[in-house]
């Protein structure tokens, strides 16, 4: 099967800044693919390269097996939901949604019918005559989605589409987007800096750091089996043990990841000093120092919280200590 989007050694350099540096990606058709990383890590530039707003300075991008080299955005079977939605302020909702059809020269009646159908799909029936400025943030987001879907793209690109929404709406939209992707079967490429969002929605996640992809995999793999310290730290806020400490514990010299919720304060174990504690609702976050390495443990509700400055013993199950032997 051909890939929906394939990057082969793609780079995008701005002067001396390597926004995207020799990236390889293979996104399968019908996949919900997330690009995750901190701001400035190159994930948005990758999205813009697929859309055609940027052109690579090296390597090649293929969309459904065809090279995208020299193909302008308006000739790609790809549509985008923008971070700021980019709704046309001079057009009403219906004309915004039907914009692609208007450009394609479809007759008015057909445009209006298709726009209404698209608005129903995103649960905004009857909003066609309103102006974008009269809509709430969540409604604008849906209009942007309907506008991008009306052209029946083969790949839908979403650039932090939920970033501007409040928490509750964001969780609701996450579910709706996932359901919509299943229903339409379109390839979704989703850019986010929120690991929770990426892990809960995507079939596969690519983690970006400094212009490169550091790990690609299923959400469980990314979360439980990070291959490099950056992924362990960024995706799950894991404790990263330096090679010296790991060597003392296991005899193997490599980085290791230890999830905060896997740590227990018990009668025996490794000695650590409590530096600070903070209550975070479902649990208490305890910052400690073990072998000169800062650590964080999550203590569930109901258990005793140690005092700041106290010496405690830390323990964990052996299988929770994840060794990053491959690439560290």
């Amino acid at each position: 099967m051909t890939s929906a989007v394939q990057f082969t050694g793609v780079s995008r350099h701005f002067g001396s800044v390597r926004a995207v540096d020799a990236v390889d990606i293979d996104i399968a058709e019908g996949e919900f693919f997330a690009m995750l990383g901190p701001s400035g890590s190159g994930k948005t530039t990758c999205l813009r390269l697929i859309a055609g707003f940027e052109q690579p300075t090296g390597g090649d991008i293929a969309i459904f097996g065809q090279s995208a080299k020299g193909v302008p955005p308006y000739k790609r079977h790809v549509n985008t939901v923008f971070q700021d939605y980019a709704l046309f302020p001079h057009l009403n909702v219906r004309d915004n949604v039907a914009y692609g059809l208007m450009i394609a020269g479809r007759p008015k009646a057909e445009r209006h019918r298709a726009a209404e159908e698209a608005l129903e799909l995103v649960a905004l029936p009857g909003y066609g005559t309103r102006k974008p400025s009269e809509l709430s943030g969540g409604q604008r987001q849906r209009v942007a989605l309907a506008r991008a879907l009306i052209n029946q793209p083969k790949v839908l690109l979403l650039d932090e589409p939920l970033g501007a929404l409040d928490l509750k709406l964001r969780e609701q939209m996450q579910e709706e987007l996932k359901a919509l992707q299943r229903k339409l079967g379109i390839t979704f490429v989703f850019v986010t800096h929120d690991q929770g969002e990426a892990l809960s929605m995507a079939d596969r996640v690519a983690v970006f750091n400094e212009g490169k992809i550091v790990q690609v995999g299923r959400p469980e793999d990314i979360y439980y089996r990070p291959e490099v310290p950056f992924v362990a730290d960024f995706v799950g806020s894991s404790n990263v043990l330096p090679p010296e400490v790991t060597e003392k514990l296991t005899g193997k010299r490599c980085h290791a990841a230890l999830r905060p919720e896997a740590l227990r304060i018990s009668e025996s174990g490794h000695v650590a000093t409590v530096r600070a504690t903070s209550f975070i609702g479902t649990a208490t976050r305890v910052s400690l120092v073990m072998d000169d390495t800062p650590m964080v443990a999550l203590i569930p509700k109901g258990q005793e919280i140690p005092a700041v400055g106290a010496q405690v013993n830390l323990s964990w199950q052996d299988e929770d200590l994840h060794l990053m032997e491959a690439r560290s």
Binding site: Y74, F82, A86, R147
Partner: protein
């Protein structure tokens, strides 16, 4: 605490300042109705509407007015095209020398008008170009570009770049994007800029004295009357009409750009 009410002294100073700016213009309105025609006598010995009909039947006033309107219309059209192109280039991309482009646009009004005027005149002389309607337009269009440019650049800055990307993403090529997205979004700014450019050209006298040859625009006609008065009441009437006529585009430009960007006063 910073008080929310202005002190009496400030109110008086601000009010007096505004009055200083407006009373002389009001005076012109009164003089347009005076019966006295030999001097600038105050208070007017009597009021009459006679001078309006006298002015109406003066062919030299009509000719000057017609020339001014034609020059302003053509200069505005040229300035609209050049100013929009410049603004589009400067605002869309960062390129080497964009500061130089801004400077080049602003220079014709930043330098005193007499320098622009003399430069053009001596250039016309050097190149053996006879003075004509088009030499006036050449000068006017040059300093009108900046007004359109200022308005257009402000609007381009407020128009999100992702709108253009969204349009291309949805299948519109550069020209369709210009027609369906860019133009509707900058239209009011261009209209406002065009109105101001028209007002600027309609009123210009310093550069025009150097580029007009024997032809008289309305300001040149007025300048003649100021230096060598022939029929003072006619000048009074023309002055009043000119004030009223220039107010219209200013009010129009103000309402078009209200709440979005400010009418660039430094355009003048």
């Amino acid at each position: 605490m910073h008080s929310d009410r202005a002190s009496l002294g400030l109110k008086i100073a601000a009010g007096a300042g505004l009055a200083f700016m407006h009373l002389p213009l009001l005076l012109i309105f009164i003089y347009a109705f005076t019966t006295e025609d030999k001097s600038y006598q105050w208070p007017p010995p009597g009021l009459t509407l006679k001078w309006f009909s006298v002015t109406w039947s003066r062919p030299d006033v009509w000719e000057a007015l017609s020339l001014s309107v034609r020059v302003a219309a053509i200069s505005t059209a040229i300035a609209l095209v050049l100013g929009t192109l410049c603004a589009a280039a400067v605002s869309r991309t960062k390129f080497f020398g964009r500061e130089a482009v801004s400077l080049m646009v602003i220079l014709p009004i930043a330098l005193p008008g007499i320098i622009t005027g003399i430069s053009l005149r001596s250039a016309f002389n050097l190149a053996d170009i006879p003075f004509s309607f088009w030499t006036i337009v050449l000068g006017h269009a040059t300093f009108c570009v900046v007004v359109v440019y200022n308005n257009a650049v402000a609007r381009f800055r407020r128009t999100s770049g992702s709108l253009i990307e969204a349009s291309m993403d949805l299948g519109a090529d550069s020209f369709q994007t210009f027609r369906h997205v860019i133009l509707p979004n900058i239209a009011t700014a261009l209209l406002a800029g065009g109105m101001l450019a028209f007002a600027l050209s309609f009123d210009e006298v310093i550069v025009t004295t150097f580029t007009a040859g024997q032809q008289q625009t309305l300001p040149i006609w007025m300048l003649e009357e100021l230096v060598r008065p022939r029929q003072r009441p006619v000048t009074n009437v023309v002055a009043m009409v000119v004030v009223l006529v220039t107010f219209l585009p200013i009010l129009g430009a103000y309402y078009l750009t209200r709440g979005t960007d400010t009418v660039a006063g430094q355009g003048k």
